[in-house]
């Protein structure tokens, strides 16, 4: 107040001063109202008015904040905002810079969500230990979604891509709006009771919290809990969590992901089967230990047999050698020699003096001596017979009995045809010989 002249501010200074005063006083305000006159500017910023029955204020959402909005801003929507006041120098108009915006009532819904979640959690509906494993390859899948929605298209595409033969039963259900929760719950129960399917997929495409609300209703959660077969939830986008997700046996971030979760890839299974078949057909490999064993045994057998044959041959050779070494003439000679020794012993014994014999007999004893003498007599008789038989074979024995051997030019004569008249024949007697001339020949 000291200098009135110096107190004039330029307009831009004025607006800037007011702006900073306002911003400092109210760095963050919560306010709610209805959207009107919404404009999506080319720059990406969104301009609109917020009003209630009597008041109105301009508002802006800078481009950088637009991606965080989870619903479509529309004329007439009641919204709750957080932001700060701003006066733009260029126009001097007040506007609210909105940093976050949600649908009015969302806070209430969120509170409801948390309360129900706590209650069901306390009852054990979300317990990890009751989560069932999904069938590896379901014979049929039960699908709970709207035949008009985006989810069914995504799921069908994914299933046909992975397993064209997969059977799917659709329980067509509205997935948003009044009565949707009851329909979803009913569909789950029907599929579960039908016995047709061994897994159920509950799905819905992305949407706002209100759009997905049916999947937060107690009746849906309890139907999933009561299902006789495992349930997979695939509701909204990755970042959306519903109570259906908590109670489901598996939560898929999207409907497409749910399809991937419940259906195996046929190409992979076929590949695996081919690989198994190849391994099974690989006789060479799995028979190797057996063939090796057989080869080993065969080797043993062969070497054993060779040894046996070798042994047999050696024995044969030695037997042959021994056989060859035995000469019949030698044997006779040996026998004759033995006979002679025996004979000499016998005759020698007979010529020994009586004293010696008596002493010997005394020594052996009366009975023994008799038996001994008898035995000796028997032996002597045997020798005598052998000697006389051998003598009978001696040609000289024959000559002794008066026969003669006649020899001519043709050798020993046994027929008159071997001689001629006038031939000189040699006669041999047992003792000596004579020459004789042939005078006549008879028949």
């Amino acid at each position: 107040m000291k200098s009135e002249e110096a107190a004039f501010l330029s307009i831009s200074e004025l607006v800037t001063l007011l702006n900073s005063t306002l911003e400092r006083a109210h760095p963050r305000l919560n306010f709610e109202g209805e959207i009107s006159k919404i404009k999506h500017h080319q720059s990406g910023h969104i301009y609109f008015d917020l009003k209630d029955g009597t008041g109105c204020v301009a508002a802006v959402i800078w481009r950088s904040g637009v991606p965080r909005i989870k619903f479509a801003l529309k004329e007439g929507l009641a919204v709750q905002c957080r932001g700060r006041p701003n006066v733009w120098v260029g126009s001097g108009k007040l506007q609210m810079v909105v940093e976050s915006i949600t649908l009015a009532g969302a806070g209430l819904l969120h509170k409801k969500f948390l309360e129900l979640k706590a209650k069901l959690e306390a009852e054990g509906l979300f317990a990890p230990e009751r989560k069932r494993t999904l069938p590896f390859f379901p014979k049929a899948i039960g699908l709970v979604t709207s035949s008009q929605g985006a989810a069914i298209r995504d799921i069908d595409v994914k299933i046909r891509e992975r397993m064209p033969s997969q059977l799917v039963y659709l329980a067509d259900s509205r997935v948003q709006g009044a009565g949707a929760a009851e329909e979803i719950a009913q569909s789950i129960k029907m599929l579960s009771d039908s016995g047709l399917v061994d897994v159920i997929v509950v799905a819905r495409g992305g949407g706002s919290l209100e759009d997905l609300w049916a999947f937060n209703e107690e009746t849906v959660v309890r139907a999933i809990f009561a299902s006789k077969v495992p349930v997979v939830s695939g509701v909204g986008h990755e970042e959306d969590y519903t109570l259906a997700d908590f109670v489901a046996d598996r939560r898929a971030p999207t409907p497409t992901a749910a399809a991937e979760m419940v259906v195996p890839k046929r190409s992979e299974l076929l590949l695996y089967l081919s690989e198994s078949e190849r391994r099974l057909r690989d006789y060479e490999r799995w028979l190797m230990p057996l063939t090796q064993k057989v080869d080993e045994l065969a080797g043993h057998l062969e070497s054993l047999t060779k040894l046996r044959i070798e042994d047999a041959r050696n024995r044969l050779l030695s037997a042959q050698a021994r056989l060859n070494s035995i000469q019949p003439g030698k044997v006779l000679e040996t026998l004759r020699g033995k006979l002679e020794v025996l004979g000499q012993k016998l005759y020698g014994f007979g010529s020994r003096n009586i004293g010696e014999r008596a002493a010997r007999l005394d020594f052996i004893g009366q009975r023994g001596a008799r038996a001994y003498v008898e035995y000796l007599n028997g032996r002597r008789h045997l020798v005598d017979r052998v000697v006389s038989r051998m003598e009978a074979l001696d040609p000289r024995g024959v000559l002794k009995r008066g026969y003669a051997v006649v020899e001519g030019q043709a050798g020993v004569i046994s027929s008159s045809s071997q001689i001629a008249v006038g031939e000189i024949l040699q006669l041999r007697f047992a003792k000596g010989g004579a020459g004789a001339e042939v005078k006549t020949i008879k028949g």
Binding site: Y169, S187, D198, E277
Partner: protein, 83 residues
């Protein structure tokens, strides 16, 4: 749909069963796959007596045939669950 009776079929059951083909036909895909896996591993170990190895081979080939048949079904359209 849930085959509880077949859930307990072991490799031993399969190898000693007279009616192994009937047994295999009653299996779910997953059970068949599991048996096949065990069977191939056993055969490859080379520890089985020859007759068991051959029986395993035959049964394995039949399982593969059955599993392929399960995969080869015609393209199914989505069926509407009758209400």
């Amino acid at each position: 749909m849930v085959q509880k009776s077949a859930a307990t079929v072991t490799l031993e059951d399969l190898l000693s069963a007279e009616n192994s083909k009937e047994l295999v036909k009653g299996l779910s895909f997953e059970q068949g796959l599991k048996l096949l896996e065990e069977l191939v591993a056993r055969v490859e170990s080379g520890q089985l007596p020859l007759d068991r190895a051959i029986a395993s081979y035959e049964r394995g080939a039949f399982i593969i045939e059955q599993l392929r048949a399960l995969l080869a079904g015609a393209e199914e359209k989505i069926k509407l669950l009758p209400k």
